[in-house]
Symmetry: C2
Subunit: 220 residues, 2 copies
Amino acid sequence: MKPVAVILSGSGRADGSEIHESVCTLLALSLHGLLTKIFAPDIEQFRVVNHLSGKMTDESRNVLIESARIARGDISPLSALRTEDVSAIIFPGGLGAASNLCTYVRDGIKCSVESTAEKILSKAMKERIPLGFICIAPVLGAKIAEKLGKNILLTIGDDPDTAGDIEAMGCRHRISKVHEAVVDKENHIVSTAAYMSAKNIAECYSGIGKLVEAIKELMN
Amino acid sequence: MKPVAVILSGSGRADGSEIHESVCTLLALSLHGLLTKIFAPDIEQFRVVNHLSGKMTDESRNVLIESARIARGDISPLSALRTEDVSAIIFPGGLGAASNLCTYVRDGIKCSVESTAEKILSKAMKERIPLGFICIAPVLGAKIAEKLGKNILLTIGDDPDTAGDIEAMGCRHRISKVHEAVVDKENHIVSTAAYMSAKNIAECYSGIGKLVEAIKELMN
């Protein structure tokens, strides 16, 4: 069985991967008996945020090195990911997905995707490898789909601004509840709102559990 | 209902709280409908480790600020914890528990406990407030029990060196499997091996789930 790739973007909701979403994803995959392989790009973070004060700092940190905290050291650079070696690819949320993996935080719908992530996502979307997007990460899928001229179905919960941006990038958006995952069966894409809507970690886990189930079905 | 306090010691297994253990603890508490309040001491980390290379760095980081990443910003300094305001206290593992919350990593059984943590743990142990210790964190409980002259029961799984240290500090050690939690009903103390034994996050979660169940029973 080929592993499911999980792509991290740092370690912390404000400048990296949302930690609860990342760990809930790894837990759900592990409880389903699915092998996992974790990747992150070897690049500097767009910013470093003090998560106590919420303020930016003048520190610099590396996305791969910080992601290794969530991965317990068992992580590879994103450039080592070959789509033929994995059975699915999942992107947890956190503002790292929207500021390190792409420039959505500063550029909105005109964002660009980090070059390695763009190559892998474009290839995977063309090959219909099951893709999972959590929380804010659907903006990554939307931008790639726009470039490929694909009209994919996504959810980010019920936030009208982000939903509008996804539609402005040529995708369909479906409003969803926190315990749901939205499945685009034709394009093999699953998304869930997680902390776009979740009021606690149990709610976060409920939607991510559904996303992992749906990814597993698409793999078969 | 008073919240369950979760005490963090940074964010990352080699220099802070083990992230999977911390998130699994928060998830299990949330799934049981228990309120949670997260604390960490406002002190410098003993060390900062690059989790990709495993090597020490010359950076300095603050335990409270880094713990805020796991807590999504919703965290208080440990000095604000009053034992009368909480229904139980849980310590996830990670080497931060043994190097920031106490000096076990460098001093072994002659370690000292961080002053705020020592005050709170001593008071809580005397008052029989349910205490949960995960992975390496039982060494904290052992050191406090030694000071109080209490013969508490703990587990760190089946690692003979750490088990020997716990016995050398005057406590009883019970060998346990990864999916078990060991309960000291008399002293209201629960412990589980987690990543002292776990081969994956599903195993880690199984024991932590048992620990949270046992803590909940002791609270009633």
